[in-house]
Amino acid sequence: MNDNIIEITGLVKTFRDFWFRPLAAALKGIDLQVAKGDVFGLLGPNGSGKSTTIKIVLGLLKPTAGKVSLFGLPPRDRRARARLGYLPELSYLHPFLTARETVRYYAGLSGLDRRTAHVRTDQLLEQMGLAANSNRAVGGFSKGMARKVAFAAALVAKPELLVLDEPTSGLDPLATRDVKELIRSLAADGMTVLVTSHQLFDMQDVCSRVTILSQGQVVGGGTVADIVAKSADPRHALEDYFAASVQA
């Protein structure tokens, strides 16, 4: 039995311009698997293809070549996407909606019934420390608060797979610590997490496995435990491994 939630084989993505001429080769044949229960870190420098990979997994972009499966189904299959939650790189929220309306909106999009949506929304707003501000429009929120609202929206339908694109980007140290705690607790509850980030210290803290991309290719990867075990400086293990892989 295959336990992989995400399977990517020979994935190629070439962006084209208006006249269909090749513009940029974002991915040049990558393979990766995310197993059930993993906290999987997709790491790489800017322009390495992390966000493109995530968008193909989410069915937002079409691969030029290669095979991608999500829960054993094509990424654009609704049955597959019904089982995931997504936190985009920036907290894209409707500025006119309040925090409560935003989470209920995503609950509605996930098909939750009215009663469940209300209960889950209240639970998550409380859990994220947003209950006191739940009736304020999110357009006036700080970046950290907006991130929390986006997190609540991603979690409202209790997804089996959570896709996090730069979850700690732009957050202060306390908010970053809260996010890491949250990822750990979700993983402890058995949720599979696919996360991208430039914050290697944070990734070392939360990920069980990582893959490193550079210029659209996989240049390294493995379990974080192995990487730490083989490192001369365990505190900076992932950072050293990342630098060695990218510069090789």
């Binding site: 968008k55 996407r81 409707h94 909606l97 939750l112 009736n135």
Partner: protein
């Protein structure tokens, strides 16, 4: 259905929460309500100026509001990333597009209903002014209770929205638009109910509203075609080129409409059919309504197809 409703409701709220919408609602309704003041210009029929102001308000302000809202709601969502966050979930792209356009159409319908009520009230006020003038001579300055109702409810809506924003942090523009729209039927009803002492020959506000309804519905459908067109263009084009194409399409629909693609606005502008006390029967309004509906469906299908093939980065 829940997904559809969630998307449509958000699109409607976003459309109404825009400051431009509040300005257009206020401008449109004020134009209609103040028409009876110019009671010397009746174009041969009491209330005709008010009626034409009402239809023009829906056509001009409605078109600006609807196309801006459609381009904004769909185009900005695609550019800002909220669409990516939505379409990453189990939301079919066709459902997303149709629901978003439906939300904008709901907001436009609210505006149309408010303008229709304001027009009935304003046309009645003009007729009353004309009757009183013929009975009491020149210099009569009374337009009945209707003008006070219409203008009063419009101003009170803004005051209430400001109070709701001050004390309950409710969104000002959204509250103002909703209160403005909801205030108009109340103003009409109040003028109708309290119309004691009106000239005996005045037909009444209720029959006026019933007479205005068929051409208003037809014109609303005509405007709605441009909402669907603007939405379809917004799936592929950025704001400026999409706006330019919609503007050209609006001009073309007056001057040289393209059959089966753009509505001939002349077929949807039925205000002349009401001249001389005539009534537009539903049997004549329905074919124009149906033609508009077919064009809306055409552009909805086109938009859904364009979005389904688009890469969302």
């Amino acid at each position: 259905m829940r997904r559809f409703l969630a998307l449509a409701r958000t699109a409607a709220v976003e459309s109404l929460a825009e400051p431009l919408t509040a300005v257009l609602f206020l401008s449109g309704l004020a134009t209609v309500h103040l028409a009876p003041v110019f009671h010397y210009h009746q174009f041969g029929e009491a209330g005709r100026l008010a009626r034409e102001c009402g239809f023009s308000a829906l056509l001009v302000f409605g078109l600006i509001f609807a196309t801006a809202a459609a381009l904004h709601t769909i185009g900005r969502e695609l550019e800002s990333g909220t669409a990516a966050a939505t379409l990453a979930l189990a939301v079919p792209r066709s459902l997303f597009f149709v629901a978003k356009v439906t939300g904008v159409l709901a907001a436009l319908s609210l505006f149309a209903a408010a303008v229709a009520c304001a027009t009935a009230l304003s046309q009645g006020n003009s007729a009353i002014a004309s009757l009183l003038q013929s009975e009491h001579g020149e210099g009569t300055q009374s337009w009945g209770p209707g003008l006070a109702c219409g203008v009063g409810f419009t101003l009170v809506a803004f005051a209430l929205a400001a109070a709701a924003n001050r004390f309950w942090r409710m969104r000002f523009c959204l509250s103002a638009c909703l209160l403005l729209a909801l205030g108009q039927p109340f103003a009409l009803l109040l003028a109708w109910v309290t119309g004691i002492g009106l000239p005996a020959s005045f037909v009444g506000f209720g029959p006026l509203f019933a007479r205005l309804l068929p051409p208003f519905v037809v014109l609303l459908v005509g405007c709605s075609v441009f909402v669907a067109l603007a939405g379809a263009l917004a799936t592929r084009l950025k704001g400026a080129p999409a706006t330019a194409i919609v503007a050209l399409a609006i001009v073309a629909s007056f001057v040289r409409p393209i059959r089966f693609l753009l509505p001939d606005i002349n077929h949807f502008w039925l205000v002349d059919r009401l001249a001389g006390g005539a009534v537009l029967p539903w049997s004549e309004a329905c074919p124009a309504f149906g033609a508009g509906l077919l064009l809306i469906i055409l552009w909805l299908l086109t938009g859904a197809l364009l979005l389904s093939r688009r890469e969302i980065s």
